[in-house]
């Protein structure tokens, strides 16, 4: 039989994390991401790993902090309301400069919301979510294969830059099934001389801490962190471009919205409309340069998202408001149809 397997997005995340060397998963169930935990519960004991269902999201994220401080690849996963609970831990992780993978399989909100897909945690993911000046790396996969690939990449990026990385998916991406190839050759690991692994009386203590009693010191830490963020913005932004070369209209969409939008772009091209798609794969850093570049040719942008208009702000900022940007959206757990996106394309007056 083939080396391809048929996986749900949630399962692909879990298996790819294991492949990436993650042996420490701490979680708490919530629909639509529970399969990540269920899969880990089955697999981890067989490979000598730790699956732990914590008593709450808050303890789960703090267990991740502990494991990450010890230098191992650790992760947690949840869906929107659970991520809100984990946000304190994410801020601490950023402050302590700890790498870990945090998965958010988004559902409709605010509050308890619903269990259907949404992208309305965009602000929460890209602006931090927790308190203080910080960012997380935010990856937005567009296929089940990419769910697996971005899980591996997420661990690597987190370790390279010593910061938390969020995999931002949605209920549909978590639940739908597609064939996946898991390629173990792609896994890279980093040295962690900073980890608290015991000094064996051979070196100074490593300290993992986010508390600073001297304001000038704390300022220095923050400035240093933002130097690193600038380097990330320069080097790590990723996006897929589809039929953008001669496009008058650019649709910008990520995750499930990008899959719907791609069908709309193909349909519009058949009608002779010059439209293309930019699919941000990293939401932070946002692929500003790719959008700014497209704005030299394109006259209009459409942000397609499952929120009341969150990513649209980054689109406008990326192109410095040099072109009009319209919004095409469904919320509350509803996904726009390709026809609705096509209608938004038709509405553009060039």
């Amino acid at each position: 039989m083939k080396d391809k397997v048929l996986m749900k997005g949630n399962e692909a995340i879990a298996e790819a994390a294991i492949m990436a060397g993650c042996r420490h998963y701490f979680g708490y169930p919530i629909t639509p991401q529970t399969e990540v935990a269920a899969y880990m519960a089955k697999r981890m004991p067989k490979i000598g790993g730790t699956f732990l269902q914590a008593e709450s999201e808050i303890s789960a994220v703090n267990m991740v902090i502990g494991a990450a401080a010890a230098g191992v690849r650790a992760m947690t996963s949840s869906s929107s309301p659970g991520i809100s609970l984990k946000s304190e831990g994410l801020s601490y992780m950023a402050g302590c400069e700890l790498p870990a993978l945090i998965v958010n399989v988004q559902r409709g909100g605010p509050g308890l919301g619903g269990i259907q897909p949404s992208q309305s945690d965009y602000f929460q993911a890209t602006r931090g979510g927790g308190h203080g000046d910080y960012h997380m790396l935010v990856l937005a996969p567009g296929s089940i294969q990419e769910m697996a690939d971005m899980t591996v990449k997420g661990f690597e990026l987190a370790e390279t830059y010593r910061m938390p990385c969020m995999l931002l998916a949605d209920g549909t991406m978590g639940q739908m099934m597609e064939p996946v190839v898991l390629n173990v050759d792609n896994v890279k690991t980093a040295e962690k001389p900073w980890a608290v692994t015991g000094t064996k009386c051979e070196r100074e203590h490593n300290v993992i801490n986010s508390l600073s009693l001297v304001p000038e010191e704390l300022e220095k830490w923050n400035l240093k962190r933002y130097e690193r963020y600038a380097c990330i913005e320069e080097n790590e932004a990723m996006a897929e471009e589809f039929m953008t070369e001669d496009a008058d209209i650019i649709v910008v969409a990520f995750g499930i919205a990008a899959r719907v939008s791609k069908n709309a772009v193909v349909a519009a091209r058949k009608e002779g409309i010059k439209v293309g798609l930019i699919r941000p794969i990293t939401l932070w850093p946002f692929p500003k340069k790719i959008l700014a570049n497209a704005a030299q040719q394109a006259k209009h942008f459409i942000s397609v998202e499952l929120s009341m208009g969150q990513m649209i702000e980054d689109v406008e900022l990326a192109i410095r408001c040099s072109r009009p940007v319209s919004l095409c959206t469904r919320v509350g757990g509803v996904i726009p149809s390709p026809e609705e996106v096509l209608e938004a394309i038709h509405k553009v007056q060039l």
Binding site: M1, K2, K4, V5, L6, M7, K8, E11, E15, T31, P32, E35, A38, Y39, K42, R43, G114, I115, Q116, T172, Q175, M176, M177, E178, P179, I256, R259, V260, K262, N263, G333, I335, S337, P338
Partner: protein, 221 residues
């Protein structure tokens, strides 16, 4: 495949039980049987028989389903008309059980009555392309877990090995060995091998007991 009064479909999470249940119901109806389908899934709030409600209604196949299936109410709820599975002896009953052992717990309450009546087929749905049922040993392990939870022994296997939309005739052919090995490992007869209807012409004559299916849930993306 024998047509017993009750056909129960159980197996690993995501192995294709729901889709097979609906397709089997259509096929049996076409053969002239009165058919009812029942959704006993208490695991997954998505991808339920409720997705096929319209098509089933059109075909004159009643659906027994929880009022909360496919709703935002994420409860492991069973349908009100649950006991029709046992008591309604009018025609065929096709029952979709939730995935893995956790799903099979819902079956336990019927096990005694079904054994007593002894007119049921308990089918293990397998897909060798799924990650936790990639070989006969793993599949047999999940089978045992389901039997322990549901208190009802399996009577046969349906090979539903597929890679979703990307499935080719070669993929199905390659899965036959896995299905046969699983049959030997579990001691259960291989009843059917399913195939997407459009691949049927390429495989007819090459695999015994083929069952052509259409996917009940279409995607917009």
């Amino acid at each position: 495949m024998r047509t017993r009064r009750v056909t129960l479909l159980a197996g690993h999470y995501g192995s294709g039980k729901t889709n097979i249940a609906v397709n089997l119901a259509f096929a049996r109806k076409k053969e002239g049987f009165e058919v009812t389908v029942a959704d006993l899934d208490i695991v997954n709030p998505y991808y339920r028989m409720k997705d096929s409600e319209e098509a089933l209604k059109e075909a004159g196949i009643p659906l027994i389903s929880s009022a909360f299936a496919n709703s935002n109410v994420d409860l492991p709820a069973l349908p009100q008309e649950l006991y029709r599975i046992i008591d309604d002896k009018n025609g065929q009953m096709i029952v979709d059980i939730g995935g893995d052992d956790r799903g099979a717990y819902a079956l336990g309450r019927f096990a005694g009555a079904l054994k007593k009546e002894n007119d049921y087929e308990m089918i293990l749905v397998i897909n060798g392309y799924r990650p936790l049922t990639g070989d006969e040993k793993e599949t047999a392990q999940i089978m045992k877990e389901i039997e322990d939870a549901g208190h009802l022994p399996f009577t046969g296997i349906i090979n539903n090995s597929n890679l979703g939309n990307e499935t080719t005739a070669e993929d199905i052919l390659a899965s036959v060995r896995y299905a046969e090995k699983t049959s030997r490992e579990t001691g259960l007869p291989l009843l059917l091998t399913t195939v997407r209807a459009d691949l049927l012409p390429q495989l007819t004559g090459k695999i015994d007991n083929l069952f052509g299916m259409t996917l009940q849930k279409s995607r917009l993306w």
